[in-house]
């Protein structure tokens, strides 16, 4: 800092001493972390919620450490750079390059085809190249277990001024030059014409009362916390009301290949133990539950749901099952939850179309690939169906399915299912031959149009989108054809 240079040395020393004393207290506090999930980084970015030493913040402005987990694809690079520059100093970046911990579904190394391994190495190399070129000061860890210690070390060094804050990557220039232009020097024509302060004014349109008012166009995402990582949503807002919405391109497309660790993907080709499939399904639903509770800012409940998901193993199913029963009773009695989600994001039966999975079943459509599976039928499987079709129905649907999955795990024994090119994964039916892609995410624009922004976010959350899965299915199906 230039200010200290012309001051007395004695005062400077006192100030440094004071700063160190305060810094020591600050260094021990929880680290505000803003996670950004790239390819394969979603689980790791979510699991930092479980750490007491790290605090997940929902804006880079509140963060000291920006965690970049997984691969940053070209479409994610510029947003990641912008978020880095938006974070207020002191700031530091931490890269987690190894794709996060392997899925706990498969204890031993799976029969990974050499293609998958090569793809993983290539992905890591690309992210290393991005880090070297754009984030030269960023920290780097290879294991998810090291994230907590590395974040704390970065935070400590930042607040004790032992580490310089990272400089902005983009140049310090306004996007459009405006200073000194126009009659008032603000870059516009007259009071409100032209491009004041470098940006044009929004277009006008009819609001719900037929008044001509500004429609604020915003591109939300891909790192907007309540929405799933990678989701790009172009919305036009009239005040708080979404007047138009459109989905942006999937930033993961072309960068996600077949996964050998996902049991559902393996079940497409060869039979897999039903117990493994159902454990994985229960975990997925519980992780969604954690995300959804997080989106409602119910952090403690969110952590509780995530802890259930991460603790769930084949040998503690009865225990987790009992805990989940208590937890779900509590959630279903909650007035806040019902008040926030009932009637939100309502899907009519004729809108369901090609959508499968819990979203369709919560709308009353009894479509489930497991219904046609003799092994599941032998277990007495019947799909859970709700008729309401709103966000609350989808909440109850997934909680109910998670509990049903745990029951199936205990009954399944060594039964196997799959190998016929059709499987029911936690988000819907995958048919290798005739799969229609991204059908659930296509519902989103219709659901949010005309809703207030808060309801729009809850509707988006209730769909349980996974853009990485969409990209993966696209690549797997194209490979197959």
């Amino acid at each position: 800092m230039g200010v200290t240079s012309h001051r007395g040395a004695g005062r400077g020393a006192v100030r440094d001493e004071l700063r160190r004393a305060v810094g020591k207290i600050a260094a021990g506090s929880a680290v505000p972390v803003f996670p950004m999930a790239g390819v394969g980084g979603r689980d790791a970015a979510r699991r930092i919620r479980l750490s007491r030493r790290l605090e997940v913040v929902s804006s880079p402005r509140a963060a000291n450490v920006l965690l970049i987990a997984g691969e940053i694809t070209p479409r994610l690079l510029r947003p990641a750079i912008r978020i880095h520059d938006q974070a207020s100093p002191p700031r530091a970046t931490l890269f987690l390059i190894a794709g996060g911990a392997p899925e706990p579904d498969v204890p031993s190394k799976p029969e990974a085809g050499s293609n998958t391994e090569v793809a993983a190495v290539e992905s890591a190399l690309r992210t290393h190249a991005i880090r070297d070129r754009f984030f030269p000061f960023a920290g780097l860890v290879h294991q998810e277990s090291e994230v907590e210690a590395a974040s704390r070390a970065l935070h400590r060094d930042l607040v004790l001024a032992e580490r310089a804050t990272e400089p902005a990557i983009q140049p310090d220039r306004p996007p459009l030059p405006w200073r000194g232009r126009g009659p008032y020097g603000h870059g516009g024509k007259g009071m409100t014409g032209g491009a004041p302060y470098g940006r044009p004014l929004p277009e006008r349109g009819n609001d719900r009362d037929g008044l001509q008012l500004d429609r604020l166009p915003l591109r939300i995402g891909p790192f907007f916390p309540p929405l799933v990582p990678g989701l790009l949503l172009d919305v036009e807002l009239h005040g708080d009301v979404v007047q138009a919405a459109e989905l942006g391109p999937n930033p993961f497309s072309g960068y996600v290949g077949a996964s050998a660790t996902c049991p559902f993907m393996r079940a497409l080709a060869s039979p897999v133990r039903i117990a493994d499939l159902e454990l994985s399904r229960a975990r997925s639903h519980l992780r969604w539950l954690s995300d959804a509770l997080h989106a409602l800012d119910l952090s403690a409940l969110s952590i509780r749901a995530l802890a259930l998901a991460e603790r769930l193993e084949a040998d503690n199913v009865p225990l987790i099952s009992a805990e989940l029963a208590r937890f779900s009773r509590r959630l279903e009695r909650s007035r806040t939850l019902t008040w926030a989600t009932r009637g939100v994001g309502h899907i009519r039966v004729d809108q369901v179309g090609d959508t499968h999975g819990p979203v369709a079943r919560a709308t009353g459509v009894e479509a489930d690939a497991r219904c046609d599976d003799i092994e599941y039928l032998a277990l007495g499987f019947r799909p859970i169906v709700h008729d309401d079709g709103d966000a609350w129905a989808r909440w109850r649907q997934r909680i109910g399915e998670a509990r049903q999955s745990l029951r199936l795990v205990t009954q399944a024994g060594d039964r196997r299912s799959g190998g016929a090119g059709i499987v029911e994964d936690p988000r819907g039916m995958i048919r290798l031959q005739t799969h229609t892609l991204d059908s659930t995410s296509q519902l989103l624009p219709e659901l949010v149009t005309g809703r207030e922004w808060g309801d729009a976010v809850l509707a988006a959350v209730s769909l349980d989108l996974d853009l990485e899965r969409d990209a993966r299915l696209t690549s797997v199906i194209e490979e197959g054809r």
Partner: protein
């Protein structure tokens, strides 16, 4: 004379206070906020338009609701004065009046006047 002196003192004190504040501001101020940090957070994309956005704050809905409650109060003050003398008749009259106003409020509620946006 005294007024001029007082005025001079006010102006002088204000000027000195402003200069001191300016000096303090300059001494405390860090470097200015760089351009890329000034953007609002939208999840990684910059805004395409200016934030000067005219939206409808819907005062008229609030005004109509206010009128319903206001009329109630306007009638209640004189009513309270004569209530003891008039007795049950006054009570019934007031109940009828409130029911009529309540219909208006329920109508406004149905039309979404209590919605936030």
């Amino acid at each position: 004379m005294i007024t001029a002196g007082a005025l001079l003192m006010v102006v002088g004190t204000t000027t000195i206070a402003l200069l001191v504040l300016r000096w303090v501001g300059g001494a405390v101020r860090r470097e200015t906020i760089p351009e890329p940090q000034r953007l609002p957070f939208l999840g990684g994309n910059p805004p395409t338009t200016h934030a000067w956005s005219r939206y409808h704050i819907r005062y008229y809905a609030m005004a109509l609701l206010f009128l319903a409650f206001d009329m109630e109060m306007v009638f209640m003050y004189p009513w309270a004065v004569v209530f003891v003398r008039e007795g049950t008749v006054a009570l019934v009259e007031m109940l009828m009046f409130i029911v009529i106003l309540l219909l208006g409020i329920l109508y406004a509620w149905r039309e979404g006047a209590l919605e936030w946006a």
